[in-house]
Every structure is written in C-alpha cells, then in structure tokens.
C-alpha cells in the first residue's frame, strides 16, 4: 500500500476521487428525494380526492 500523502500529483488525484464520490452522492440523493416527493404528492392528491368525495 502506498503512503497517503506521498503520492505524486496528490492534489489532482484526490480532487478527482472526491468529485467522483460527490457526484455519486448527489445522484443517489436526487434519485431518492425525487422518488419520495413523487410518492408524497400522489398520496396527497388521493387523500384530497377521497376527502372531496366524503363532503
């Protein structure tokens, strides 16, 4: 295993890896958030519709 800071061009390498991890996290977060928001919205409309029917 190589030393963490002894790497040549360490900044370039670490920034690339960090940006990769960041993009993966952003995409994951967006996907789950998008899914949750859609589900919540549909639930709301359905509840609203059933409330409308009762009144």
């Amino acid at each position: 295993m190589i030393e963490f800071f002894a790497m040549d061009y360490a900044y370039y390498v670490y920034i690339s890896f960090l940006s990769f991890i960041t993009v993966v996290i952003i995409c994951t977060n967006n996907a789950f958030k998008h899914h949750k928001i859609t589900l919540d919205r549909i639930k709301n409309t359905i509840h609203q519709m059933s409330d409308d029917n009762e009144t």
Binding site: M1, Y12, S19, I42, K43, I46
Partner: protein, 228 residues
Amino acid sequence: MIPWLFISGLLLMVYGIINGLFYAPSDYQQGDAFRIIYVHVPAAYISMMAYSLMAFAAFIALIWRIKIAHAVIVSAAPLGAWFTFLALLTGSLWGRPMWGTWWEWGDPRLTSELLMLFLYLGYMALRASIPNITKADKLSAILILIGAINIPIIHYSVEWWTSLHQGSTLLKSGGPSIAAPMLYPLLASIIGLSLFFGSLLLIRTKAEVLKREKHSRWIKDMILGDEV
C-alpha cells in the same frame, strides 16, 4: 432488484476505488497521476452508456409508442449529464499534470464529449420548455436520436483524427494494454458504477411512471394498499 443492484454496485465501486487509489502499482510513465483512470474511465463509460440507452429507448418510443420508454429517457438524462460533467472534470484534472493543459479547444475527443454534455442539457431544457407531456416526449426523443450520431464520433475520435487524447486501452484489438493488477480494480469500478447507475435509473423510472400514471386505478390501489 433495486437494493440488490444498489448494494452490489456500491461494494464493487468501493473495492475498485480503494484498490485503485492505494494498492495498484504506479504507472511507469505517469506515476500516481494515472490513478485518475479509476474514476475518469467509469464516468466516461457511463456518460456514453446512458446516452446510448436513451437513444435506444427513444427509437423504441417513437416507433412502437411505448410510454415507459419515455419515462426511461427522462430518468436517465440527469444521471448521464452528471457523469458527463464528471468525465470532463476528472479528464481536466488528469490533463493538467500529464498533458500540460486543463482543456484544449479543437481536440476532437474533448470537444465531442463536451457536445454530449450540451445534448443532455439541451434535452432537459427542451422538455422543460414544453408543458404538454406528449409533445415534450416526442420532440425530445427526436433530439436524442439526432444527437446519437455523436456517440460513435466520441468513441472513434481518437482513431479518425489526431488527438491529444490517447487511444482506447480496454477496447483495442489484441486485448487491454494495462497490467493485470491495474486492470482488475478498473473493471470493478466500471462494473460497479454500471450496476449503481442501473439501480438509480430504476428508482427514477419508477417515480416517473408513478407520476405519469397518477390518475390510474392501479396506482391508487398500490399506494393506499401500502398504508393499510
């Protein structure tokens, strides 16, 4: 299916990145800077795979009028755009120490990859500008199909023209020209990111289909069924 893809993809990526970053030997010419390959190549691969998938879905959607194909295109676009951006960014971070430049206008590989980022963004902008969903589906699918011509250009740009970018390492005749201990983490991160991409694409597509079918009976049953 989704959790399985998600977890196996994540594990493979972690394996690939840790091994690529710390355990793979350094390169005979590039030293440790070559380690950027473990994030650059998977990102670039996904950027092109996502577009190819979208073009394939657009073709099916236009000819057979299959609605779910449009949902797939819509869901893949933001993911593809992010990974295209990442491929350009990591490529730039690799180019600075090795080639001596962050960016070169006029290089066919660099320019065609940038064009693909604009295709992704153009697709999303076009959709956003058309309120009618059926019309937006149709026009944006046509845009994706026209842009598909860029995919072979990106891939063969380094062969057809002279370029600062080197040729393909993995997909060359005579097998990959990379030493085995360097190759395995690379394959792991490529396959891992593909599985991971697949899981995110499925989650997004599921949400997109739910959104499009929100007035249909089965969705109502499914969601109310969940709550009971």
